[in-house]
């Protein structure tokens, strides 16, 4: 569906990283963790897919966080409170919320892959699941939402250069530092997802994937990902962006 979302607040939460709280009743009511909004940015041909980082139907808000990378996100960052953003969404399928027996869940986020995991973590803890979050960032000035995650569960921040928290990659965290886990959920850059899938290959996991998109709704075949070697595929925008780790081939 196409909706207009009004910017209610806007703040820079880390280097080049902007958080916007948007107002729209319908979207706030139906958004589930892992879904994304396909945002139109003035003067740009293609829309930008941005994950839903939080939603509060009681006050009709939806939160997004985005990193200023190219021209579209740079332009978006100049939008002011009160401005209205034209979006398609919520698009795609969210994370499957675990059933109650799986009660220890690992959340692994990398950089701008962290936002959708926040909404997920909130929903999981609300339903009684224990979460442990490992959040990786390039360096200290990129870190955001550490406090927000700490309110939900054990949170370990890792920076590649060691300027904050642990040093290295999210997959470097030793077994001892983590509780025993039943399932994991991850979102971040592809090399990280590959490493995550490999490290925790003995337990069920869900990955949220990114790809350059055209339509964002399943019509153009821009965002496919192979599911096997025989031409099988899924569309990230429509069938994903969340997939079970087994379901997709990470090239």
């Amino acid at each position: 569906m196409q909706q207009l979302l009004k910017i209610k607040s806007k703040q820079t939460v880390a280097l080049d990283t902007v958080e916007m709280v948007l107002e729209n009743k319908a979207v706030s009511q139906i958004a589930v963790p892992g879904q994304f909004l396909h945002l139109h940015v003035d003067g740009h041909m293609l829309r930008r897919p941005i994950s839903i980082a939080d939603a509060d139907p009681s006050v009709h808000t939806v939160t997004i966080l985005f990193k200023i990378l190219g021209e579209g996100t740079r332009k978006l960052s100049t939008y002011q409170i009160g401005d209205v953003i034209d979006v398609l969404g919520p698009n795609g399928n969210g994370f499957p919320l675990v059933n109650a027996t799986k009660n220890s869940v690992l959340i692994v986020g990398g950089g701008i892959g962290v936002p959708p995991l926040y909404y997920l973590a909130k929903k999981l803890t609300e339903s009684g699941v224990t979460i442990t979050a490992v959040l990786g960032f390039q360096s200290k000035e990129h870190v955001f939402y550490e406090g927000e995650f700490e309110e939900l569960g054990k949170t370990i921040v890792v920076t590649n250069d060691g300027s904050y928290g642990e040093t290295g990659f999210v997959t470097n965290i030793s077994k001892e530092a983590l509780p025993s886990i039943d399932e994991y959920y991850s979102c971040g850059p592809l090399p990280m997802l590959q490493a995550v899938k490999e490290r925790w290959n003995n337990i069920p996991g869900y990955l949220s994937l990114e790809e350059r998109m055209g339509c964002g709704i399943g019509a153009c075949f821009a965002c496919v990902i192979p599911t096997d070697d025989h031409g099988g595929y899924k569309k990230i925008c429509q069938d994903g962006p969340v997939f079970s780790a087994e379901e997709v081939q990470l090239k």
Binding site: M1, Q2, M45, L46, R212, I217, A219
Partner: protein
Amino acid sequence: MSLAVELPGLSLKNPIMPASGCFGFGREYSDFYDLSILGAVIMKAATMESRFGNPTPRVAETSAGMLNAIGLQNPGVKKIIATEVPFLASFSIPIIANIAGSTIEEYRQVAKAFQHTDQVAALELNISCPNVKEGGIQFGTDPFMAQKVTEAVKEATNLPVYVKLSPNVADIVGMAKAVEKAGADGLSMINTLTGMQIHLATRKPVIANKTGGLSGPAIKPIAIRMIYEVKQHVSIPIIGMGGIMHAEDVLEFLLAGASAVAVGTANFQNPYVCKEIIEQLPHTLMQYSFSSVKEAIGKGIV
């Protein structure tokens, strides 16, 4: 205000149709509006067997345009006839099947396969997709090859055939004349221009296939020029496309000589674009003193 246009095999209640590859098989857009308002619909390219297409990334954004190299991903003509055609047929609008192949033989087979349904009104012969490596490109830029494939398809079908021309040529009129001579019932123009974008950080082309097809408003002046030139040298009708975003653009294509238009890239930015254009078109025609779509066709040719 009459929006109706009669083309070989196509009784269009209005001249607006989604362009091939930019609307899938209509399912997703049917969630946004009732597709029965469309003049017609052009399906995504069909090949004989299912194809996975090119590796990703398959799209990039450019100034007032985009690049794509989907690579003809499709479930194959049999599945399209079995599951997609009936879905579209439920909207009671003319269905145009875009057909592609790597060899003349494949084109012929795909065309023949569409004889097995009576729900398809016409074929659009995609000889211009720049993203198929095995031959697509040479059909679209060599008049002799274009003529050959058109003849083969005409023999294989009794449906009207609209040949979709590539703009990546020095002499578009020569191409148009060649396929007219070969029996084409109409022309579709233009397909995308071959382009590339290089990603500065990774130092390589953004599109995995390296090159992609440029579409969107950026190419509209090229489409208008080619239609204007071709219209004066052929007597078969032209379905125009390339960068249409608004009803005014539709009128510009009609003036240049198109009898109907297809809207591609714009659907990605605004899923309602075809609906909005159909609603706006009567006002736009009136504003510029036309009392029907037919009246405007070719009126810009001086």
